[in-house]
Symmetry: none
Subunit: 145 residues, 4 copies
């Protein structure tokens, strides 16, 4: 019987992820909310760009939560449930579950270490912004295997 080990996001990395995501949002000329949660779904860092919709405050956090809570980008959910009417009409009521794009798990060596959620632009742009953010982690070099 043995403990496992896992990687953990720091506050500094969460901030870098948000900075990078915001750069992408500015490239697109959109104003979004960006949330980063740890692997337990607890909020680490959040930013509402000036003028981003208030509605996106909660949605961005829920996208980040959904990403860690099921280990999939939120953009995959609709595909998963669309042909199962009971899921399509049922599972969407799960608290905090978001089934449209903009939430992406943050992974290192296949392990989920957190999630990012973006809301305020089109769902596709939200996801691209999220992916730009997590490129910060993909570029970390000093990760032991």
């Amino acid at each position: 019987m043995q403990l496992m080990r896992k990687y953990v996001l720091t506050s500094e990395i969460a901030r870098e992820i948000i900075n990078k995501a915001e750069e992408k949002a500015k490239e697109f000329g959109v104003r979004v909310c960006i949330a980063v949660v740890d692997d337990g779904g607890n909020l680490l860092e959040f930013r509402r760009m000036t003028g981003a919709p208030i509605l996106s405050i909660g949605i961005s956090q829920n996208k980040a939560y959904t990403a860690i809570a099921f280990g999939l980008p939120t953009s995959k959910w609709y595909e998963l449930i669309k042909d199962e009417p009971a899921l399509l009409h049922g599972i969407v009521h799960t608290p905090r579950l978001v089934i449209f794009a903009g939430g992406v798990p943050i992974k290192v060596n296949g392990q989920i270490i957190g999630g990012i959620g973006v809301s305020g632009a089109t769902a596709q742009q939200d996801e691209e912004i999220a992916l730009a953010g997590i490129s910060v982690v993909e570029n970390l070099t000093n990760i032991e295997q």
Copy 2:
């Protein structure tokens, strides 16, 4: 680094908006709830006309909230999401989001300064009542550019 400035609804204007909206409701011969929120979504003024449905107390407030939280009339939401099934089945679960007519942002010089929400008649009448209400603000003359 500089603060922005923006316009703010007063209690007096909120009441005028509701008075004007109520006039329209009376023209239609309907009984509605009318809510006005500020730009942060916090309730400023509320009126339930005698005999208006209790169910509309909450819906009118959520319509006003939705209007400021995304900056669009709630009547635009269905159009936005109807061809995006993930949104159609997903975003409707966002707390306080209303996707049918009756909520309208109150804008001055392109800035959202609040929202009005009307509920109790048909969705189309609700919206017309809301629009009648906010004509009060459109007619304000002493707004500096």
Copy 3:
């Protein structure tokens, strides 16, 4: 009948406030959560320092909310209610109300433009960290009277 005008926090200033607050936390050698909300109580920026308690995620946001929602530092609340047993036992149940130090309104020219909430250290340290954060706004020079 005339609209008022108000100052508005930007995302950039919210971030500066949190950066400054975090510096103070590091001076104290403590790990805290720091939240900045706008004048409507809606979250603008949030940071959980590495190792700060998860319990503080919500408390910091509620402190910031309480600060704007009543216009007082949360440290003033206990003094206000301690000799009124009905308040002492009653008002503390108000959702999101925090009656201990760490939440401070952000004011410009006497106007509340937002709130900061800090949680994770002692209540007194939390407040000092919050005050350090909002010194950023007090030092803004280009504010029209």
Copy 4:
């Protein structure tokens, strides 16, 4: 900029913790609920012994949550706040916070890797049962320093 690493509870260890805690409860002749959460506060394993109070289902989980969310045994909370009236009357309203004994963080090398919460007996027995449970982790030998 570097990721941290930390230890992680497995399902197997969580079950061992609960088995050990249940043994202690049986020694005491009491019927309790026992919850084990991971370091993010998410439920890993739960057991309601036959005849344990239904009220304890929630309390045990909140005790485990409180333990990880602040890093202290819940039995320490009253001591912390009893001489600070603002906390005594205020912080007790924090959602999921439990300020009486029975919740204990599970630590390895000083790191919080989870929490256990026990409810259904006296607060003191609840804590002893929790401590018996986590002795499982203290006895793990193959932990790298």
